[in-house]
């Protein structure tokens, strides 16, 4: 049974046992516009909750990607580096960013459910 949660920085995280898959939300891609560049963390590196773990750039500007939980990077999605437009096409499924071996599952508790995130996204968008 996997659990999907959302951060205020517009990342989604899916937890399967110890393995967390992280990407950016559809709402985030709509705010960014056409994505033309993606940079991912190094495999084997450790990232800390709310720390920078990548960059996306649209035609307009660059934005940092944050990790909603701490852990070790066990995999990254080369597909979105090779073709960043895939992030606009399928942000919450095939265009995931990186996978972590999660350090502390309790870090998931402060994140939002799908309903909470949708409400948050609606309230914070202009």
């Amino acid at each position: 049974m996997s659990e999907v949660k959302y951060s205020k920085e517009h990342e989604w995280i899916k937890l399967d046992g110890e393995e967390a898959t992280i990407g950016i939300t559809k709402h985030a891609t709509e705010m960014l516009g056409d994505i033309v560049f993606a940079e991912l963390p190094e495999k084997g590196s450790n990232v800390d909750k709310d720390g920078t773990a990548g960059v996306v750039e649209s035609t307009k500007a660059a934005s940092d990607v944050y990790t909603p939980v701490s852990g070790e990077v066990i995999d990254t999605n080369q597909m979105i580096v090779d073709d960043p437009s895939k992030i606009n096409e399928d942000p919450e499924e095939s265009a995931w960013f990186f996978k972590l071996k999660i350090k502390d599952k309790s870090e998931m508790d402060s994140l939002m459910s799908k309903e909470e995130y949708e409400k948050f996204a609606k309230e914070t968008s202009v």
Binding site: G33, D34, V36, F37, E39, V55, E57, S58, T59, K60, A61, A62, V81
Partner: protein, 368 residues
């Protein structure tokens, strides 16, 4: 201060624009299709740009007008035929660019198209330099619409017949709905195209008729990627008060006939023509997919800072990151290896020729 709206504001909203503030105006950054699709549609078909925020300054009255304007602008205005346009500059005494602009000779004087953010200041500067002798009208009852792309001439000809005979950097009067419109063949995208000066009250129906004939509204986002691919400067990014036309690699816009004559900034330019310049605007192509935006620092292979990026983006038609900026003149040769500092890393790049995307203008008799 209130944010101004152009006469196309309702149309922008109707076609799903994301509106932003730009130079005091509420302007569309993009529509529903997004920047890349809008960019490509302009290159393959035609795009409509609301550039009504730009200044349309009409100057007339008096036999000495041409002479007096030549004391301000480094263009060869005496040789300009009626309806012919030239790219030129308003400079300060140090040869720095206060604005880049297009001057067109009209039947009773000159029309100068000014950048939106500079127009009120330009007006005051030009007025004071002309000693209030002439009639100056920064006409805000007119909208300015650009139609750009390979299909532009076919689309516009259906709405205003006959305009396809205009040559590049030439204009003329036409009639739309019994009202005078002034059209020039010019633009800011690297494509063939037109700029149409039209009464505010006619602008919306005019643009709707262009849309009915197959064109689409394009936002400022794609306008920026299109002009960068075409190697064209954006005032405030690539040109400013501390940069001369020679440093900006726009020497071609200062005719030989004017180099020895006097105009605002002429001493500095003459000196730069003779002795060269320290910094020069160049095209920059990163080796990788990393985008270097404006203000990115540029280094040589010895890790010494040699310049700064002034504009950078992903070029949708060239499908690669592109940039332009200023480097120490000794590094300005094409294929020189440089390094761009992006997020703390040094990204290899090369100095390259401009434009990134080859121009497609309809050449006329004049030589730009």
């Amino acid at each position: 201060m209130n944010i101004k709206k152009t006469s196309l504001n309702n149309l922008h909203i109707k076609y799903g624009a994301k509106l932003v503030e730009f130079a005091g105006y509420q302007m569309p950054i993009q529509y529903k299709d997004g920047i890349i699709q809008e960019h490509k549609y302009t290159r393959s078909h035609s795009g409509i740009f609301d550039v009504s925020h730009m200044g349309q300054l009409f100057i007339s009255g008096g036999d000495d007008l041409t002479n007096d304007l030549e004391k301000i602008f480094p263009a060869d205005l005496k040789k300009l035929k009626t309806n012919q346009s030239k790219y030129s500059f308003l400079m300060n005494n140090k040869g720095g660019i206060q604005d880049d602009l297009i001057i067109t000779k009209t039947s009773d004087g000159f029309l100068i198209i000014l950048n939106a953010a500079c127009k009120y200041n330009d007006y005051e500067v030009i007025k004071s330099k002309l000693d209030n002798q002439y009639k100056l009208n920064l006409d805000e009852s007119l909208s300015l619409i650009a139609l750009q792309g390979p299909e532009a001439k076919n689309v516009l000809n259906k709405v205003i017949p006959g305009c396809d005979s205009l040559k590049f950097m030439n204009g003329n009067n036409y009639v739309y709905k019994n009202e005078k419109v002034y059209i020039t063949r010019s633009g800011y995208t690297g494509e063939d195209g037109f700029e149409i000066s039209i009464k505010n009250s006619d602008a919306e129906t005019f643009v709707e008729s262009l849309i009915e004939n197959g064109s689409k509204l394009i936002g400022l986002g794609a306008r920026d990627t299109l002009r960068m691919e075409a190697g064209l400067c954006l005032y405030g990014n690539d040109l400013d008060n501390d940069t001369s036309p020679i440093e900006a690699n726009l020497k071609w816009a200062i005719p030989k006939s004017r180099i020895e004559t006097e105009f605002v900034g002429s001493e500095v330019l003459k000196n730069q023509f003779q002795r060269g310049v320290k910094k020069l605007r160049v095209g920059i192509k990163p080796d990788s997919k990393v985008i270097a935006r404006g203000n990115t620092k540029i280094y040589n292979d010895k890790n010494q800072e040699i310049g700064k990026v002034t504009s950078g983006t992903f070029g949708p038609s060239v499908e690669h990151p592109i940039a332009m900026g200023y480097v120490d003149n000794s590094y300005s040769t094409v294929n020189t290896k440089i390094f761009l500092e992006v997020r703390g890393k040094k990204i290899p790049a090369n100095i390259c020729n401009l434009p990134f995307y080859k121009k497609n203008y309809v050449k006329g008799e004049i030589n730009v």
